[in-house]
Amino acid sequence: MLLSEIVSILDAEPLNGEMDLGIDIQSAFASDLMSDVLALARPGVLMITGLTNIQIMRTASMIDIPAVVFVRGKKPPRETIELAGKLGIPFIITYKTMFETCGMLFQAGVKPILCAKR
């Protein structure tokens, strides 16, 4: 599914008009714990989070996450927006909660990632 379709499903706002919304997204991971993102997410996975600090973009870039969804209508601070631009990571903002965001994307066919038993 294209990121542009996700924008439309979530009634989301892409803040930066120059962002590439043509990215293909197959799976997603939702968390406010960045170490869990680092532990479990895979390259190519969409990150859904309620945090907006600069470390969200750092985390996304370490694990080659192609795009970020900020939930609950949270607007990232300037430094986060600047780093996203520098790293070329598009982000969108939805006013939906994390639960609803995940539910809608799951219903639309976006897959979860596997968390292995250990």
Partner: protein, 152 residues
């Protein structure tokens, strides 16, 4: 693509400042970009940047800052993270997922959830922790250039 000869060996060293959350992660990003520019495979670049990032965050949060170095030599990448912080009192507890001594303001940023050292272990091939209460901590982390199909 990742076969290297002695000419490619090098060490990069960076200073990490205590509690500087705006700059935290710059070192790990630099390391990743350097490895990518050398044609190192993407999964090796990713593993290295994740362990360097977790080590960097530990130095920023707990270590009172420190020095993070990346050495590329022969068949391996070695990350050495050295801080002058309080040391780790109980290493086996610190290796448990979810065990954390991080303050609340760190948790509010999405870190300090007790996954730092477990993540470093998960993504590395060798991990050695040298620590003494009151004298700081040194992590020595090795990632082999040849991917042997471990955790991606």
């Amino acid at each position: 693509m990742s076969s290297l000869n002695s000419r490619d060996s090098f060490v990069i060293e960076r200073e990490v400042k205590p509690l500087d959350f705006l700059s935290a992660g710059e070192t790990a990003s630099d390391f990743k970009e350097t490895l990518k520019s050398l044609g190192i495979p993407a999964d090796i670049c990713r593993k290295t940047s994740i362990v360097a990032y977790e080590a960097e965050m530990n130095a920023v949060i707990h270590g009172g800052g420190g020095i993070i170095a990346m050495e590329l030599e022969g068949d391996r990448i070695t990350i050495v993270a050295k801080d002058q912080g309080p040391g780790i009192e109980n290493v086996s507890l610190a290796m448990q997922e979810g065990y954390s001594t991080a303050p609340d303001f760190v948790r509010e940023m999405g870190f300090g959830a007790g996954m730092g050292l477990p993540n470093i272990k998960k993504y590395s091939d060798e991990l050695d922790i040298e620590t003494k209460p009151g004298e700081g901590t040194t992590l020595r982390i090795v990632i082999f250039l040849k991917d042997e199909g471990g955790v991606e």
